[in-house]
Amino acid sequence: MQKEVMFAGFGGQGILFSAKILAHAAMEEGYEVMWIPSYGPEMRGGTAYCMVIISEKHIGSPIVKNPMHLVAMNRPSLEKFAPVVKPEGIVLINSTLIPVRSGRSDVDELVIPVNDIAIKVGSLKSANIVALSSFVARSKLVKMETLRHCVEEEFSKKTKLIPLNMKAMEEGEKAVVNLKE
């Protein structure tokens, strides 16, 4: 079955990058993948979004009206995309920056204070990795181990950032586990 994940937030929050890591991890696990960035005028106004499509078979359309999941890093993203998420999809809300909720009762709302966790980990810049890790911990689209491996690989030219991002991965996953308790 095909799964689509919409990553959305401000320019600079690392939206395109975290989406790429997910696509990379899914490719490593043998899936067909597609990564479709926003590069249009809206990006120049500060909003960035990116769709990742993961499928067991050949992917047709790069244009998807209703993604299965949403990772919303800021309020405009949540307001724009929460209404189009498929029922039973995950809507991850970065609650540090988003005071509202999706307003949907048919989705799996995952409320994570992503920025707070990132600051605690050591750098706000790791917020995208925290969110990615939380999302994967909940959705299980790929194995955490594969994801960790791909984070390492994506940072292979900046190895000194790997420990920080491994910590971000760990805390992102923990945040989801703690929610369940």
Binding site: M34, I59, I63
Partner: protein, 356 residues
């Protein structure tokens, strides 16, 4: 070889290097600037030349110059940039030099927008520049296919001593997909002695090669045009490529669609099949030469009532589809442009309507 996740634009740059092309001259324009960004560091690594020209007009002639010297050379641009290069493209076709042009189309006309479009179909297949010339035009529908087509484009350009164009759209350039690069091309042009101005010392022939495009004698110019026409006729015989989809079913509607648009159509065809409504598709991989015979035959299937050209333009390829169907069936058009890409849902609705 291991699959790598790559953006279309970067994969196009890498494919050219693997095809043995070590000359890239370009001028940046969205949505294809990543090709230049990528090759600005990759070309020096492999001992090649990366050069940013002062304009697309200049780049067009840099390509002409390098090609006349017998070098594998290519450039990438997007719609307005290709318009500026079109004069040089006509000259290159006239001088019968090989070169590869990649157009990652953005919305037009004019400066238009930066989002994907297929509005340059006419420009690529019917001219763009002046005079009786054609480009061999290939249209990839995935990053992998873009890689393969770029790698094939160089030997084809040399085989025909004619420019080849890869016609993609903004999405092909911007999206990432897993790609596997074929082995490096080992072939070198075998007919270089016939055209390259490499100096008499390096050549086997004692007849000098002259790169020129001015032929004031009507008879000579007519003969040149006959030579060009013979090449284009040969392309029509030898280079037509297309992918049939769901063509063994008893389809009521036949789609003709290419590039990104064809992928949206594929999803629509699959979804409609689940509803019990069969739609067939021919996806031209070469736009010139156009798969006229394949479309004509597919349109003639008994179950087929209508043929629809679905494109991200206001109806350009539809004229070639009409020309192929030859009145056998009604030919319709559906499309959007300016950066709007129809969704599978929209395509399905249109197809249901045409299928009634």
């Amino acid at each position: 070889m291991r699959k790598v996740l790559m953006k279309g634009n970067e994969a196009i740059g890498e494919a050219a290097i693997r095809a043995g092309c070590l000359n890239y001259f370009a001028y940046p324009i969205t949505p294809q600037s990543e090709v230049a960004e990528y090759l600005s560091h990759r070309m020096p690594e492999v001992g090649g030349v990366f050069l940013q020209g002062e304009s697309e007009v200049a780049v067009g002639y840099m390509i002409f110059g390098a090609s006349g010297c017998g070098e594998r050379v290519f450039t990438t641009s997007s719609s307005p940039g290709i318009s500026l290069m079109s004069e040089a493209i006509s000259y290159i076709a006239s001088a019968q030099c090989p070169a590869v042009f990649v157009n990652i189309i953005r919305g037009g006309p004019g400066l238009g927008g930066i989002l994907p479009s297929q509005g340059d179909y006419f420009q690529a297949t019917k001219g763009g520049g002046h005079g009786d010339y054609r480009l061999l035009v290939m249209a990839p529908a995935s990053v992998q296919e873009a890689v393969e087509m770029v790698m094939e484009a160089f030997p084809l350009a040399e085989k025909y001593r004619n420019p080849v164009m890869i016609l993609g759209d903004g999405l092909i350039g911007q999206m990432m997909e897993p790609v596997e690069f074929p082995e490096h091309l080992s072939s070198k042009p075998t007919n270089k002695d016939d055209w390259a101005t490499t100096g008499m010392d390096t050549r086997k022939s004692d007849k000098p090669n002259v790169v020129k495009t001015l032929f004031l004698d009507a008879k000579v110019l007519n003969n040149l045009n006959l030579t060009l026409k013979a090449k284009y006729d040969r392309m029509k015989k030898e280079e037509v490529r297309y992918e049939p989809y769901n063509i063994d079913s008893d389809y009521k509607v036949l789609i003709v669609s290419y590039g990104t648009m064809s992928r949206v159509c594929k999803t629509a065809v699959d979804n409609l099949k689940e509803e019990g409504f069969e739609v067939g598709m021919i996806r031209p991989q070469t736009l010139f030469p156009f798969p006229e015979t394949a479309i004509n035959e597919a349109a003639g299937k008994k179950s087929c009532k209508t043929v629809v050209s679905i494109e991200m333009s206001m109806g350009q390829m539809v004229e070639d589809v009409e020309r192929s169907v030859l009145g056998k069936r009604p030919v319709e058009w559906y499309g959007k442009c300016g950066g709007e890409v129809p969704t599978p849902e929209e395509v399905m609705e249109v197809l249901r309507e045409f299928g009634k």
